[in-house]
Amino acid sequence: MRHRATGLVVWGVLLFIWMQGQSIESLAMGSRPPATGMAAEDFALQDLSGRVHRLSDYRGKIVLVNFWATWCKPCTTEMPAMQASYDRIRDKGFVVLAINELEDEAKVREHIAQYKHTFPVLLDKDNRVANQFGVFGLPVSVFIDEKGVVQEYIKGGLLTEQKIDDIVARIQKQEPVKAASIR
């Protein structure tokens, strides 16, 4: 009897811990990345100046949505390449939305100022957009075409200028998505 009671208590505590902070939806869905070829769900986030950016505002452009944090070395390593590509091909309809995850605004501001990044930096303070895009490791880069469809979902791998250029060129040519990138 004592054993059974202890067992129930232990499992009750574990269940409580698991449930804390978990919504029914998240339990059912988990945090899964969108499949390439599917429409990207819209979001609205503020940038460092307080302006609200919606993904749907950029319909008609190729959007690189990059999830990052200042403590994430691979993230900060690939940002100069994003900046370079942004500088070079933004006139051709290319946009970068760098979404910072869960960090203090002052810290993000300091980092952006130090590296002189000029693309929009958005703040995902409650992790909502990351969950929406199935992000549970950083960095993650999502390329979305002019129609708002996900064309490439890259986890972890470092972005280079060449890689960004190639993906943007492929999207502009409307080439079919590579099977390897379908997730």
């Binding site: 698991w18 549970f136 890259i154 972890g156």
Partner: protein
């Protein structure tokens, strides 16, 4: 014959939840201590390594067991050979278990991981055997036991059931294999009692659950780990009692290369069970030499008195990431850690109780395959 006190195996683990694909070094670990249990959540052992990442852990664990004040350590003898349980036949003195655990974790996918744990154990045990029977006045004779070898290996799968940047829930299921010896002998040549052997002699099932949440992202996270272990009855008729573990704690990232950890560890052990007849030892008497009296000749399943225990410990520790200290290929994805497990409350059922334990470990990860994408 002897008796042991000890028991159980371990499990342990880990935390530290860095969620960076490229940055995060999964420091994993598990310590299996055989008769004694050290069960600290150590690094990210409970987590799923990044896809294609192989993580090696080497963990050294020192776990002493002694009698608590107010207890005398008089317990029954386990006679596997003749299937006898002899009440009040032993008096425990101490057990020391040292374990080196080799632990491998591999991320099959981003959410599914496999883990293999191989413990190598050194165990020494001392007790007084033959109360009422041996010695000039039936005070028994001191018996020593020493053995080393591989303990029961564990193979398991883990699945990240709830993955986000700020929290995760990992469900695991492992199987303990009976790879540890159950036939080691004491200094008198007798087969040592089941609870003191390096292995359990039968398969065990081990579901686990691990949860972590970033209270202050990348600065402070809490974690909880629960585990249940059921071992089936072995061929000697001995069955280890079920084991419940619950660990709750937090990690504080002070500087990027140093993480401080504090955790509470709770363990509840159900009584062991033996299929045996029942005997009673005589009390120490001048002259000694009194054979145990048979109480019940029927060989049936019997709970083993003085087994089963409750244990609560506080375990402070730290983890040093060499990656953040020295920039070289050798230190890449490498970390060291140290924990002390300090008892807070113990009910050892007049048996030996686990004292302050120490755990040292090293973790090294290798990206075997590049993740897709």
């Amino acid at each position: 014959m002897t008796r042991g006190i000890i028991r159980r195996s371990v499990l342990v683990l880990a935390v530290l939840s860095c969620v960076s694909w490229g940055l995060s070094v999964s420091s994993v670990s598990q310590a299996a201590c055989g008769a004694v249990t050290c069960f600290v959540v150590i690094g990210s052992q409970q987590q799923i390594p990044q896809e294609g990442l192989l993580t090696f852990n080497g963990i050294y664990n020192y776990t002493p067991m002694r009698l608590l004040s107010g207890t005398n350590g008089v317990i029954p003898a386990i006679d596997q050979a003749q299937r006898r349980l002899i009440l009040d036949h032993h008096q425990e003195v101490r057990t020391v278990t040292q374990t080196f655990t080799f632990d491998l974790n591999y991320g099959i996918t981003e959410r599914l991981g496999v883990e293999v744990t191989i413990p190598y154990m050194w165990r020494t045990h001392k007790h007084i055997d033959g109360l009422g029977e041996d010695g000039p006045n039936g005070e028994g004779e001191q018996t020593r036991f020493s053995a080393d070898g591989i303990g029961d290996m564990r193979v398991g799968l883990k699945y990240n059931a709830h993955a986000t940047l700020s929290s995760m829930v990992v469900l695991g299921f492992g199987v303990y294999l009976p790879t540890g010896s159950i036939k080691d002998r004491d200094n008198t040549g007798e087969v040592m009692e089941a609870p003191t052997q390096l292995g359990r002699g039968q398969i065990g099932l081990n579901p686990t659950i691990y949860q972590t949440y970033e209270l202050i992202p990348h600065r402070l996270n809490q974690f909880a780990f629960g585990s249940y272990r059921h071992t089936f009855r072995n061929n000697d008729g001995y069955q280890f009692g079920d084991e419940w573990l619950l660990n709750i704690g937090a990690n504080l990232v002070t500087v990027p290369w140093l993480v401080l950890t504090s955790q509470f560890n709770y363990r509840y052990l159900v009584h062991d069970n033996m299929r045996a007849s029942l005997f009673q030892s005589a009390p120490p008497t001048p002259g000694g030499g009194i054979e145990p009296t048979e109480l019940d000749p029927n060989v049936i399943n019997r709970p083993v008195p003085n087994t089963g225990s409750t244990y609560l410990a506080f375990s402070p520790g730290f983890q040093i990431s060499m990656d953040g200290l020295i920039d070289s290929p050798l230190t890449k994805m490498t970390s060291f850690y140290f924990y002390a497990q300090i008892p807070v409350a113990r009910d050892s059922n007049n048996n030996l109780a686990q004292g302050t334990s120490f755990i040292f470990g090293i973790t090294k990860s290798f990206q075997v395959l590049q993740p897709k994408g």
